[in-house]
Amino acid sequence: MVEVALSFYGSNRFWHVLGRCKYRFCLLGAATLALTACSEGGSQPTRNAADYPDQFRQQAEVIAQGLKRLRESPSTKDWLVDSSTPAAFVQPGAPFETWLFLALMRDQHGRRYAMQQRLARLKVTDERAEAISQWNFSDVLALDYRLEPVGGHSAIDTHTVQQADRVALSLAGTSAAQSKLWIGGFTTTKTTKKTTQRQCEASYSIQTPQLNLLFEQFSCASEQRASTILVTRSESMRVSGEYRFQGRDLVLDGRGWLERAWGVPPDTNQSAVVFDRAWLWLEDTADIQLQRSRRRSGRGPMISTGSVSKPSLSGRSDVGRDQTAPSTLTQVVFADGAAQIGTHTFPSEFRLTEPSHAIDVVLTSTHTPETAGGIELNRLMAVAIEGSHTGVGFVSYAVTKGLTSDVPE
């Protein structure tokens, strides 16, 4: 029940993004005016920030204080207006929502790519603001995006991070009617096709300045629930689209996953246990999702669990209606390799074995010392898979060493 719900917050980079966000809000305070109205009288029942776990409360309070300063120190600067009144949060009392899209793809030349995009939405006031202006700071959107090559072909400059401060440029918003979120040139739109108890057909259009992708979902996501967290987790979806790079159009095709979460996140920065995750595409064989719990102390057992689903069709577009239901991996062992990325304290290799499925592979991070960037709470990295099977995937590794008390800029 709780497994994925807990691991989700242990494996995301939202706090990192938001950690940067909180400083930039101070800068915004000098430039933005009282368009940030947070009116009284909202009808949406919500929790008070004081009810949230410490880390969350601190973040929310920093942002709320920034907003107060904005109101008290107005600026005369005019801003673009493109935000609408945000859609209600999905669950009352859930001040935090995320959408994590992961895609593993090939282009028409056989080159492989990995795309990760996380959208996060955080409620910062207890009242839902009235749309007295098009500005609305009752919530903040953040986006973390990366498209990278996997497998040695030439690097493409696709590393992009859009942060929550884009909200202040009024380029972000949400729309319930269109099931749409946007931050700057990054837009995600959901189209529901058919929803029954057993069928949840939908598509998600992801648009960035250079990339257009369509995630097609055919089966209902599994739901993981704890008292303060709800996570829905899709089986692999078909992904197709185009990437515009250096004047060339690359046609992409592959598969991807979506994890959608709501809730009040625990303070994973200090938790006794962290989670590592993996989403793997063993080409023409199977899709695998893995999770491993690990104590921050380094003592005790590391426990890996996972599931595998086998597509019934072959070829690159083999994800869809006929995909088999996932089954549990009963003998999975997910171990760290000794190698590290530069001087960082997280591994660059992992070994996955599962004797009952004849799986024995090494997962190698695509990150290099040059591309790895700073140490983050969680490192979500694309990996190349070699051994008994080949393929590509993602590993999310929870960093427990080398962190300072503050999140690095």
Partner: protein
Amino acid sequence: MKVSLLLMFVCVFISACQQSDEQDLNGKQVVVTTGATDNAVSAESSSLPTDLIPASMQRAGDAVAGKHALINQPIVSCGIPLSAMKQLDANPLYTFSEREGEAAQLAYNLNLVEDEQGVQIAASNCLTCHAAPLFGELVIGLGNEFLDFTTNASAVVEQSGALVSGESETQAWEKFANRIAAIAPYIQMQTAGVNPANNLTFALMAHRDPQNMQWHEEPLIKPPPQLAPPVSVPPWWRMKKKHAMFWMGEGRGDHASIMMTAAILCADSKQDVQKLDAIAPDIRTYIESIEPPVYPFEIDSTLAQQGKKVFEDTCSACHGTYGEQVSYPNRIVPIDVVGTDPSLIEFAFGDGQAYVEWFNQSLFAELAQVYPSKGYVAPPLDGIWATAPFLHNGSVPTIRALLNSPTRPSLWRHEVTDSASKTQFNQSDLGWNFIDLANNAEASAGVGAAWVYDTRVKGYSNTGHQFGDGLSAAQRDAVIEYLKTL
């Protein structure tokens, strides 16, 4: 896995009778009571073997204080920090209104405990296994036959650590997590619903010095086999009649002493055991006071009366008599007579001897002994209607199948995963609805696979107890109707 399964401890209690002037572990006088039942149905009244368990001395206690201790005192002294548990299970379905403060918000099977560092902990009590919701009400004493031990218990506890932070809470959690990690390999079951109680206790013994109770990270004696033998959890209300604890009747002497052995997960010294011992007689007395639930559906009293005659002619020699003439023989039926799965017995007289010796050399042996038999105790049948599935390993889903061995399914799956719904209770056969998979292995895979009971697995056999096979269909109907009245 449900939150309740985070903390799995089995306290098997028993009550009985007589008098003595011995001293308990705390140096107090042992008070002795006289049994409410006797061996009224003598062995001579049947042709069955005459291995009748004699009554043994029990310490008297206070039932009211016993219930209070059961749901408020540190039965198990370690667990998950309260702050984490509140996030895991903020609104438990069943709580105790007589509890106060934070404890009132905890699930019925968790007690609020404070460790040496002042950390508040949600620690399991005995009710995880010895209470169950029945038709929307919590029934204390009803063995929970719908717990799922098919997954790695340590995995669930490790995951809960994601909600634990701060040095003192982490230390408290880590002690619990370490203990669970040590015993987890021995308590994973093939099938949901059956209980690893035996292996749990053995695993706890294996890591402890029997005299000073010191915990050792490496086992001191050979651990139990990782394929845990399944047991059905017997209802507590039987204990007032039983002279010995456990299916083989191996728990002899002071039952309060024996029941403590299942609660020693974090009792690391003689002093810790003495604390348990101080409340154990009260808890045993409370258990003795529990009555079975009344059958909630209609009963054909005429048919039941006919069944009573058949029952007394066929079953009473082992299972006793009920109604105005109450008797219970405490009979051990030899394995070659009863013919049910022998795995428990084979282990007890094989590698399990190490655990017999452990107990009999331990602190708990001052007033009690472990003495396994080469047979199984025929239990009292009070409230039998509520206790499906049947036999000591829970291998037979209904009373009707129990009384007609050729019809027992060899591969079957629970149709329900709890005992909540009256519509899922089969009033005709006395048991929860199930699906006979008819040896169709393919049907047993996929969703619900954990709930498939495969009687071909060692320890899971549904053989034996063929004493109802000779009944006519009408007689069988009558006996089933009569059993509803017990």
